[in-house]
């Protein structure tokens, strides 16, 4: 299953809730959630730990807008909107953690 998270991990709890509940699968970070894909934040350790269970991707245009495309955690894949579409198509179902 594809889990789409769009909230800042330092302001909202939705990423943590997703990590607690979701069965192993893919997580796509978009909008303010892309900060979770960056090195050096207080969230980094939780995201790295989650990489044991999830494939983690982040939307490149959102990383670029927020000026953090150059500090993506190793092992997090970046995708453009076309890649976002591919992820939706590849998985049987998806869930947005609004």
């Amino acid at each position: 299953m594809l889990h789409i998270v769009n909230k800042s991990p330092t302001e909202r709890k939705s990423l943590d809730t997703c990590l607690r509940i979701a069965a192993p699968g893919t997580i796509l970070l978009i909008e303010d959630a892309v900060y979770a894909a960056t090195r050096g934040t207080e969230v980094e350790a939780r995201v790295k730990a989650a990489m044991q269970r999830f494939r983690i991707c982040a939307l490149l245009p959102d990383l670029e807008a927020r000026a953090v495309a150059d500090r993506v955690i190793e092992g997090v894949a970046t995708v453009d909107y076309g890649g976002f579409v591919d992820l939706v198509a590849e998985h049987r179902n998806c869930q947005s953690w609004l």
Binding site: E31, G82, V85, A89
Partner: protein
């Protein structure tokens, strides 16, 4: 693949409407179909033809109308949410239509995937 889209937030205040639009554009470019874009909650505010954003900013409403025109995308605004928020047939931008929540459920049933954008 046939994709349904749900947009739960209005234009400008949240990025949801932007993300949904750019997703639709990318999906169409890849040869997928958009079964329907359904606008719910404040998402109904995407459909007002009265917006006039600054010249140097994107026109979110006009972008949706153009998407509908160029690719024959069905843009449906929830009637109950629209009535609460002052969206009516007479201020609807081109390409949008007002209908019931059944259209959202139908999209969930008929489309291969339903992708939700919101706050």
């Amino acid at each position: 693949m046939n994709l349904g889209i749900l947009v739960n937030e209005g234009p400008y205040q949240h990025q949801a409407a932007d993300s949904a639009y750019l997703f639709c554009k990318a999906a169409l470019a890849k040869g997928h179909q958009i079964h329907r874009v359904f606008f719910y909650h404040d998402g109904v505010n995407n459909s007002t033809r009265l917006t006039e954003p600054p010249q140097d900013d994107r026109n979110i409403v006009a972008r949706w109308s153009k998407l509908a025109q160029d690719h024959n995308v069905d843009l449906v605004v929830c009637v109950a949410a629209a009535l609460r928020r002052g969206i009516r047939d007479d201020n609807l931008a081109p390409g949008f239509r007002i209908s019931g929540l059944g259209q959202l459920v139908e999209s969930g049933i008929q489309a291969d995937r339903l992708v939700v954008f919101g706050d």
